[in-house]
C-alpha cells in the first residue's frame, strides 16, 4: 500500500503529522516510538525570543474537548536551531517549524533565520488565540494573512504553510488570502477560542480567562473548514481538529486535505499518531484503497 504523499514538494512517508504544541520538539515521544515513522513533525510554536508562557492553570477538560492557554512557552528560535533541530534531524524526522511573531517583520525575520537550516517546511501560525497583537488576534483579518504570507514567502526558499485560525467568519477567504500572499499550502484549524468557569470559585478555570478549544468537540467545524478551504484554493490543505482515529484522518483526506495533523490525541496517548497511522492503513486496506492519495478530495457531493 502506498501511504506517501507530496506536500508542497516535500515527500512525506505518510500523511500523519503531530500538530504543533502537542508534540514538544519530539523528545518525549522518542521515548515511546521511533518518530521518523511519522510523515513529519510540527514543532512547538517558536518565537524570536524565548517566551515564559501564561501562568497556570493552562489546561482544562470540556465535553469531548480541551481548552489550553499555554501562551507559546518556547525557548526561542536560536535555542531551537542549536538544541532541538539537530536532534530532530538526527532522529530522521521531517521537520515542520511552526513559528509565531508579533508583527509582519517578526514573521519575516523568523523565516529568514530558519531558511538556512534543515527544516523541511515552515508553518506560519497567524492564529494563536492565546497571544495578542495590539489587542486583536492577528489571524482573523485576510489582509494581515496576505501580508504575513507575502513577507515570509519572500524571506525563505522553504515551502510555506500558513496556519489559519477558525475564529473567522469566512475560512475560504482566509485561505485565499494566504494563497494570494504566496503560501505553498494552508493548515487548519488552530483552536477555537473558548472559556470555562469553575462553579465553586466563580472564577475562570484558566488563568488566561480564555483558551483554545481542541479535540473531537471541534471536529465537525474543522472538517467543514478544511472542506471549504480545499474548495477555495488550489494549494494543498493540511487538516486538523479532533482527529483521534484513522477514520477521522480519512475523513479529512476525503474533504480535500493532503495530510493531517494530530494534536489533542497526543495528550491522551503518547502512541496516538502511530495508532492513527496504523488505523488509516487498515481503513485503506479494508476499503480496497491501494494508494492513500486516492482518498484526497474523494468526497462525493451531489
Amino acid at each position: 500500500m502506498r501511504l506517501s504523499v507530496n506536500l508542497c514538494g516535500v515527500e512525506l512517508k505518510n500523511p500523519i503529522i503531530p500538530a504543533s504544541g502537542t508534540f514538544g520538539f519530539g523528545r518525549e515521544f522518542s521515548r515511546y516510538y521511533d518518530i521518523s515513522r511519522l510523515g513529519a513533525v510540527a514543532t512547538k510554536g517558536i518565537t524570536p525570543l524565548p517566551r515564559l508562557g501564561n501562568p497556570p492553570a493552562r489546561i482544562t477538560e470540556t465535553p469531548s474537548g480541551i481548552l489550553n492557554a499555554v501562551g507559546l512557552q518556547n525557548p526561542g528560535v536560536d535555542a531551537f536551531i542549536e538544541e532541538e533541530l539537530p536532534w530532530l534531524i538526527q532522529q530522521g524526522a521531517t521537520v515542520i517549524a511552526n513559528v509565531s511573531g508579533n508583527s509582519v517583520d517578526e514573521y519575516a525575520e523568523l523565516a529568514e533565520t530558519l531558511d538556512s537550516t534543515d527544516i523541511a517546511l515552515l508553518e506560519v501560525n497567524v492564529s494563536c488565540p492565546n497571544i495578542h497583537a495590539g489587542g486583536c488576534v492577528f489571524g482573523s483579518d485576510p489582509g494581515t494573512i496576505r501580508d504575513v504570507a507575502k513577507a515570509v514567502r519572500a524571506a525563505t526558499r522553504k515551502p510555506v504553510l500558513v496556519k489559519l485560525s477558525p475564529n473567522v467568519a469566512d475560512i475560504a477567504e482566509a485561505a485565499k488570502a494566504a494563497e494570494e500572499g504566496g503560501a505553498d499550502g494552508v493548515s487548519l484549524i488552530n483552536t477555537l477560542t473558548g472559556m470555562a468557569i469553575d462553579l465553586k470559585t466563580r472564577r475562570p478555570v484558566l488563568a488566561n480567562v480564555t483558551g483554545g478549544l481542541s479535540g473531537p468537540a471541534v471536529r465537525p467545524v474543522a472538517l467543514r473548514m478544511c472542506y471549504q478551504a480545499a474548495q477555495a484554493v488550489s494549494i494543498p490543505v493540511v487538516g486538523m481538529g479532533g482527529i483521534m482515529t484513522g477514520e477521522d484522518a480519512a475523513a479529512f483526506l476525503l474533504a480535500g486535505c493532503t495530510a493531517v495533523q494530530v494534536g489533542t490525541a497526543n495528550l491522551s496517548d503518547p502512541m496516538a499518531c502511530i495508532r492513527i497511522l496504523e488505523e488509516l492503513e487498515h481503513y485503506c486496506s479494508q476499503n480496497g484503497i491501494a494508494d492513500v492519495n486516492e482518498l484526497i478530495g474523494g468526497l462525493i457531493v451531489e
Binding site: 523528545r27 515511546y32 493552562r58 499555554v70
Partner: protein
C-alpha cells in the same frame, strides 16, 4: 531510545473503601512498571469507558508490592473522572500510563519528616515504606477531621513514628501536620505533599531552618509526560530568574528552595 513503558491496561484486583470517601484500588502492573517506580511518582489514568473525558487523571503511587506486581492507589472521588475511576469493578481494566514524574530523593538523609495533608497523604505511604529501609521516617499526616483519616495502620507499620493531626481536633493533634511536629527534633530532609497552604507553610519552615525539603505539587495536566507544557509551576533559578517548570516531568517533586508557590 524507545525505552518508556507505553500505556498499558491494568487489571483491578481489588477495590475497597478507605477512610474519608477515598477508595483503595489494587492493580496488577508489569515488571517494568515496578522496576521504574519510585516514591513520589504518579500514574496517569484514562477515565474508563468515557471517551468524552479526553484527559487522563494523575494519581500518585500510594504503595507498590513488586513481588506481586501490585500497585496500590488511593483515589478521592472528586469530580466525574475520579468518580468513574472509583466505580470500576474488580476484574475490570483501566488504561494506565506510568510511572511518571521524578519522585522524592532520599539522598543520604538519615532522618526524614514525611508530611502529608488530605489526599496528599497517599504518596507518603510508599515513601515511608521505601525510605524506612535506610532512614528514620516520621510521618505526620493531616486530615480535616477524624472521619477522613485513611491508611493509619499501614503508616504505623511502615514509618518509624506516626503523628496524626486533624484540623478540628477530633483525632490526634489539633492543628496541621507541620505544627504537630513542633516538638520533634529537626530532620535531615522534609518531604511533603498536600494542599498549597500546607506546602507553603512547610516551605517557609524548611527555608527558615535551612532544611533540605522536597515538595510534591499538583497541577492540571495534559499529557503527563512532558510534551504539552500545560502543567506549569513557577520556579526560581539561583540568579532569581523565573521559569515555568513542568509539574509532570520536572516534578511533581520540587526542591522547596526553587519553587514559587
Amino acid at each position: 531510545m524507545s525505552n518508556a513503558l507505553p500505556p498499558f491496561s491494568a487489571k483491578l484486583l481489588s477495590s475497597r473503601p478507605l477512610g474519608g470517601g477515598m477508595r483503595e484500588l489494587c492493580l496488577e502492573v508489569p515488571d517494568e512498571f515496578c522496576r521504574a517506580s519510585r516514591p513520589g511518582m504518579f500514574v496517569h489514568l484514562k477515565v474508563p469507558d468515557a471517551p468524552q473525558h479526553l484527559l487522563r487523571r494523575p494519581i500518585s503511587i500510594m504503595d507498590l508490592e513488586p513481588e506481586d506486581n501490585l500497585l496500590v492507589l488511593g483515589v478521592q472521588p472528586k469530580g466525574e473522572g475520579t468518580r468513574l475511576i472509583c466505580s470500576l469493578r474488580e476484574g475490570g481494566c483501566i488504561e494506565m500510563l506510568g510511572p511518571l514524574g521524578n519522585g522524592f530523593s532520599l539522598n543520604d538523609a538519615k532522618t526524614v519528616w514525611a508530611i502529608g495533608g488530605g489526599v496528599g497523604v497517599a504518596p507518603m505511604l510508599y515513601a515511608c515504606r521505601e525510605f524506612s529501609k535506610s532512614a528514620r521516617v516520621t510521618a505526620s499526616l493531616g486530615f480535616r477531621t477524624r472521619d477522613m483519616i485513611f491508611s493509619e495502620r499501614d503508616f504505623h507499620e511502615s514509618a518509624f513514628r506516626l503523628v496524626i493531626a486533624t484540623d478540628d481536633g477530633t483525632a490526634g493533634f489539633h492543628g496541621n501536620a507541620l505544627a504537630a511536629l513542633s516538638s520533634h527534633p529537626l530532620p535531615d530532609l522534609i518531604i511533603a505533599c498536600g494542599p498549597t497552604p500546607m506546602l507553603k507553610a512547610v516551605q517557609e519552615f524548611a527555608l527558615g531552618h535551612n532544611l533540605h525539603c522536597q515538595l510534591s505539587l499538583e497541577q492540571r495536566m495534559g499529557c503527563g509526560y512532558g510534551a504539552c507544557l500545560t502543567c506549569s509551576c513557577r520556579t526560581m533559578s539561583r540568579d532569581g530568574e523565573e521559569h515555568y517548570a513542568r509539574v509532570c516531568a520536572d516534578g511533581p517533586v520540587f526542591d522547596a528552595g526553587k519553587v514559587v508557590l
